[in-house]
Assembly symmetry: C2
Homo-oligomer: 288 residues x 2
Amino acid sequence: MEKLFGAIEAGGTKFVCAVGTGPDDLRAELRIPTSTPAATIAAALAFFREQAARGRPIAALGVGSFGPVELDLASPSWGHITSTPKPGWAGTDLAGELGRGLGVPVAFETDVDAAALGEGRWGAAAGLDDFVYVTVGTGIGGGVVAGGRLVHGRQHPEIGHLRVRRDHAADPFPGICPFHRDCLEGLAAGPAIAARWGKPAEELPADHPAWPLEARYLAELAATLALVLSPRKILFGGGVLQQPQLLPLIRQHLPELLAGYLEAPEIAPPALGPRAGLLGALALAEDL
Amino acid sequence: MEKLFGAIEAGGTKFVCAVGTGPDDLRAELRIPTSTPAATIAAALAFFREQAARGRPIAALGVGSFGPVELDLASPSWGHITSTPKPGWAGTDLAGELGRGLGVPVAFETDVDAAALGEGRWGAAAGLDDFVYVTVGTGIGGGVVAGGRLVHGRQHPEIGHLRVRRDHAADPFPGICPFHRDCLEGLAAGPAIAARWGKPAEELPADHPAWPLEARYLAELAATLALVLSPRKILFGGGVLQQPQLLPLIRQHLPELLAGYLEAPEIAPPALGPRAGLLGALALAEDL
């Protein structure tokens, strides 16, 4: 019998659970509103148990979780959600409770890292060992894959908080990151765009000056990633990238920033859309 | 009989060759001036053959080379020096000629990546899976280790050419990088310091305003590395770092830049000094 795997995209507003082997073979799927840890985890366990009872037991489970999370396998807190402000969730042993409840091994990553893995397995970075997945929405996050493996380091990359060069005359907006004020996220995430221009990003027309400025900041990010990681591809997704004029503008700025010193990596949209995280969690389970 | 390994630090002015098993067990060592490829490689081969004749044959050879080099194992040009301006060396199949000449497997990396590996095996980053080795001298280079492995990507990191934030009022110096003008190397490598202040870095007194400015640029680099890679440690070496006041100033600026969002990685000097590259080449051979 073919082995089946379980996946959970554990988000702050909903948990999406699925059983299957890949994007074209998801046998069952359930969305659970994220309430208390006890109720949410119980509902997820019930889903996988029911699937097992129906002849669809899973061999392993992959989880892509909202954070912050503990990813150090040597830590007694591995698989826990750590210091989240989300009521009740700080300190939840998410991976442990799921694994013990189902009796299967669990792989555990951040949501954005899981999405990066999903794109690397079945999406726009399929077959690539070196790429970065960037998502620009209410925040800016990224999953970094180098040599075929996620870069974690001590914790995990936080590319949204990179400090970028800016031209204060062209963009006097002070930035809104509560930590750094004018880091990338404070200048270029959705809420920063809305605060700078006085209306939500999605209401700004395609020819609004917001977009060349946004592309310039994201090209600064792409140049930094190119110089530190030498990736083959950088995927830009998330709500803000729904603006189709952005990617061509980023592609235009990037070679100017690299100035011929190295070839610009390919700049592309992700291919899996909102499914990337769930499918990445599935890939995690399959790789265990 | 204990296995011995060969190492070559292949520099633009000299090749250093050694046979042994580690920093406290180098059985023989030879420095060869870098002349033509044919003469230099012949001298290196003669050294290792003589060692073999004396009962010290090597099981494998590691090479840390000046560049640019081809590191893609799938490329027919793997192990070649590619587009160097150094007369006669462009297109030299360095790894291939050494491997065929000695009949042993060859591991091949850039000089700075080899130095990073040396520090990771026997130096200031021993036992760490996630660290960056930065060298600031006539240029600025870096070797990135993530998850215990060198980050190559499509080519290799070029962190010296990162664009850094600057305060044009405080530092109107335009920068001297021929590609980017005011990238990190163009603002903060040894020649940039000399050009800005009108005398070589080593002649500037310890209380010269050059150093707080230099530390600020290097702290920008450290913050970028922390946010992209989450390393445990960043080693700063090279000629410019001979100024002992620099590291404490970098350590002081870095937490300001990260602003409490993540813990600053440890900033430390390398431990192996000019031996890092040679010892890293040895580590490469041992890991084959």
